[in-house]
Assembly symmetry: C2
Homo-oligomer: 355 residues x 2
DNA sequence: CTGAAAGCGCTTACAG
DNA sequence: CTGAAAGCGCTTACAG
């Protein structure tokens, strides 16, 4: 009974197998696994050897049950997975794996009925996650639900989205980027910079607010921004309009894909980029380097972002709350920067200024 | 002792709370949860009500432990997440949620040392997943390891990648697509179609083999394909070369992003697309509609693909093996199709054929 | 149809 | 330092 040489190869070894092989109690193995304290080095060694020989891996399930704290980080995001989110997930996965944790990616369909979303959230939470990351919580209801259901001692980190007072929340450099890009365009000699905004709530810290600030600083009247949708066709239409408007020589577009759509619209009315009109995007989506012309844009390191969220969770779990809940937090300051490519240039010879 | 009115709001209710409230045994609640058989309708109702009132959700952890089968599907993919994989994940998530299952997305870094990957795999498997999906197993070692460690009764579905005999494996329509695109280009009047291949093993059923077949069918000598890397810069260089070669009027490129790189190279030597050279891509990446000119390409429904993988797993779990392990499987035949856009046209007036 | 009991694999006080 | 025991929340034979 309990011979270590079973033939049925697939039943994976449990902690009791290890204990038996090492000749110690289950408790000791557990201690070894968790911190290694209070153990004779002799026992330590034999346990280590047993684990080694058996190729033992603790059951995440059992641990989670016993601990009421599983070794998993729940990552929630909308199913549309806009650019940036994927990189963020990658950053989360990498950081989690390094810390020996798993990631549970949960995508909720923002169109879906709330009940279904709520079910998913509750099931996920029944997993006793170590911590929770919510990416770009644009869909308020789902975010609310998660926040409501999460146990009080489970750290939650929001990434992007509207500011939610009282929550630990990471922000991208949207405002800073919008400001920098606009400044750059002005420095090229443009009299004014127009803006095509991504569909988002007009909050204080956005690409749009950065653009606005840069203009106001120079005393330039702020033209009404165009509001794009996520549909590229709309972007084309906007480009088509912009191309026919007078005095437009520089446009800062809220993201790279929309910028490409705008360029198509411009092209359709015979405007050249950057000879006639300069275009700048945002994000540094890999495609920004592939368009003709390639796009000047603002790069952000979303992987670093995801990694940062994991770090915050781990810190909290370990008791050190590096960030106050009520203070938004910008991460990785050296990871964001202007990337100048082919789509921006000085304005066409500036005769005829309307001064 | 056991009053249902605890104030501490966050401790979520367990099956015993439900049993107590409903006035039945835990076993009965469990039966209700699992199939609803052998229960008086009276009991059923009171259990239902109790679940309702308590907002009870079974613990995935405990279920997984007790069942040696958790309600989770493990999805493995390389961390680079090439286009298509993200859509596939989405399809997997949707289908899983509909079936009441969770998805555990695990990204392994193909550069990483094998030990680390192996650890991650074993931890994931310790979760007793319902089934396993491995996306594009390009990194053989990781795939081998998963296959080795997976319990025999856990269904594994491979998505794409090199054919692994004996495994249940889903394939995209690469061969068919390559064939169709090449045929289309020939039908436009081009004498020959060149090919820029994505970096992949040259197996039987690829975009490249489809291209080859189409050419051979017409008795056209097959020119040596260019082999691209995943680096767009290389694609530009290839475009630059192609633009200077004689007699090149049509190029089928193995994926949309690389096609955009090729177009940049062509543009840099003054070749116009499609007036001088027709370009076709592959995948119907959203960016294919945004380039100037927009790309003719071959669309595949990767979401359907992911959903198909889930369906296969669920079928197996339920005992009905719809697909034989030793037969590769193409899914969703009506989901793949040629998409004609602006980048393809008849060849420039065909005087001077080298016949 | 239904309940008491054992077990899934671990952790955590509790006694040595 | 170390082990026996109870418990985490569920499921599954086993007896009614």
């Amino acid at each position: 009974m309990g011979e270590p040489m079973d033939i049925g190869k697939k039943k994976s070894p449990s902690i009791s197998d290890v204990a038996a092989l090492a000749g110690v109690s289950i408790s000791s193995v557990s201690r070894y696994l968790n911190n290694g304290e209070h153990l004779t080095s002799g026992k330590k060694q034999s346990i280590a050897r047993a684990i080694q020989m058996l190729d033992y891996h603790p059951s995440i399930l059992a641990r989670g049950l016993a601990n009421s704290r599983s070794n998993t980080i729940a990552f929630f995001a909308g199913r549309d997975l806009l650019y940036g989110v994927v990189d963020c997930i990658r950053g989360v996965e990498d950081a989690a794996i390094k810390a020996g944790a798993m990631v549970n990616v949960v995508l909720f369909d923002e169109q879906q009925n709330f009940d279904s979303i709520s079910q998913t959230i509750k099931s996920t939470l029944s997993t006793n996650p170590l911590g929770i990351i919510i990416n770009q919580p644009r869909y308020g209801a789902a975010c609310d639900e998660i926040l409501r259901d999460a146990p009080e001692d489970t750290p939650v980190v929001l990434v992007g989205g509207n500011r939610r007072p009282g929550q630990c929340q990471l922000f991208t450099h949207d405002d800073e980027g919008g400001y920098a890009i606009t400044k750059y365009l002005l420095s090229l000699g443009h009299q004014v910079v127009h803006h095509v905004a991504v569909p988002e709530n007009d909050e204080a810290q956005t690409r749009q607010s950065g653009w606005r600030k840069a203009l106001e600083e120079e005393g330039i009247p702020v033209p009404p921004p165009y509001i794009a949708s996520w549909d590229p066709k709309d972007a084309e239409k906007i480009g088509w309009e912009l191309g026919q408007e007078d005095g437009v020589t520089a446009v800062f577009v809220g993201n790279d894909e929309i910028a490409m759509g705008v360029m198509r619209g411009l092209h359709s009315v015979g405007k050249r980029v950057p000879e006639d009109i300069s275009i700048a995007g945002f994000d540094d989506n890999p495609i920004a380097g592939l368009s003709i012309p390639s796009l000047t844009t603002w790069r952000q390191d979303f992987e670093l972002f995801g990694a940062g969220a994991v770090k915050l969770i781990l810190n909290r779990v370990n008791g050190s709350a590096e960030v106050e809940n009520d203070a938004p937090y910008n991460i990785g300051d050296n990871s964001a920067q202007l990337v100048v490519r082919e789509s921006t240039a000085p304005p066409p010879s500036s005769h005829g200024s309307m001064k």
